[in-house]
Symmetry: C2
Subunit: 236 residues, 2 copies
């Protein structure tokens, strides 16, 4: 059975805990706040009230051959950096730390985090394309210039099959799955015929997806209502 320690039960730490509780994993919680620990004491292997920046205590408590450590000290950036460096000294193989800023993430990587997570930035990257495009429902950059997007199919698709549309050839898009607005994603055949309100999950380069969903369309130089606001509030 895998053994995982969570250092700090801030929002991300708690969310990881909720997921781990669904699985067959040994969980060790460490946090200064005993009230938070008490909430989970009965559901985990161990819940220890302790300051993670007490190096000696941490080294005594943390098993050396633990599979992974999750670090989320909330706004206490210094504590997360120290905790990551102590875990590195213990030669823990997987050290996952939460960061908010580039600088924080960079330091965590330098002192020993094997993976730095930016939940807010990642969520922002998914949300913003949905704001600027009408067709996109969900958008996920997956590395390189490849993105995965959930899009409402344009009306021109209705009644045509996957094979007929040949998304890859015409738009450079790879169809991953299709669902009607109500049902769940499933595997599909090339003979599948698109229906009204279908949602398609596609992958492609950022450029191809943006072009297909109209994010690249220019709307001309409309006068912005914000210009008026700016004139009123700007002190320049």
């Amino acid at each position: 059975m895998k053994q995982v320690a969570i250092l700090g039960l801030s929002y991300f730490g708690q969310a990881v805990l909720d997921e781990l509780l669904e699985m067959d994993v040994d969980i060790l919680l460490i946090d200064k706040d005993r009230e938070v620990l008490d909430r989970y004491r009965d559901t985990v292997s161990a819940a220890i009230g302790m300051d993670v920046i007490n190096q000696e205590a941490l080294e005594k408590t943390l098993p050396k051959h633990i599979d992974a450590v999750i670090i989320d000290m909330g706004k206490n950036i210094e504590a997360s950096i120290l905790a990551a460096s102590y875990c590195k000294k213990l030669e823990i193989g997987t050290i996952i730390a939460k960061a908010e800023t580039d600088a924080h993430g960079e330091i965590l990587g330098i002192v020993g985090a094997t993976k730095v997570v930016f939940p807010n930035r990642e969520a922002a990257k998914r949300i913003v394309p949905q704001i600027v495009s009408n067709l996109v429902l969900n958008y996920l950059p997956v590395g390189g210039n490849l993105v995965i997007a959930e899009i409402e199919i344009p009306d021109s698709f209705i009644g045509k099959t996957v094979l007929e549309l040949d998304l890859r050839k015409k738009f450079g898009l790879n169809l991953i799955s299709v669902r009607s607005s109500e049902t769940e994603y499933t595997l599909f055949t090339p003979e599948y015929r698109f229906q009204e309100k279908d949602i398609a999950l596609v992958s492609g380069t950022e450029f191809d997806v943006d072009q297909f969903t109209g994010r690249l369309e220019k709307e001309g130089a409309k006068r912005s209502i914000f210009n008026s606001i700016r004139e009123i509030f700007s002190k320049k």
Copy 2:
């Protein structure tokens, strides 16, 4: 040009702002903290120091026909709920609010948020499968029972082509893209031959991906090192 307002520049609000600044979008910032606003004043259309729970002031400031509003009041849960309800009264079409807990998210939906975002929970859902499986590098539930996962290819794939392996037939997996550990994701042909250290991006049902990556393997009833810790620390 689309017009977007960000109410509250907590971590998520700032991350959304960073993304929006890359795009051709009109941005209005509203926050109580003028020091934070000053950092962005020169890069956005308007930066207004104001309490979002002052309904009258908010209604005067927020253009009725704005495309989207992003709400992130950090730990101030009451303020985010009030802001969402005021935006609803203004009949704003897209109201995106950040939440941490189920209850918070549910209330935001009730009072008028059109989309509730849980960045920490979403990041946790991606991270946890990586902890419990050795092959998985990234893991994303996309709705229904479909997941997208970035996996290290098993040694048995090396030297075989995409066509030969027929992942869909043998494992129920749909290959989205392949990259070597260094390079970026690109489109691939069925004739592509897997190489050592290739990373594959695949989609499939949660069950199929978990089975393929070994998350479903049982490791027997090994005695947990945590049991000892539990015995020491448990008061029961």
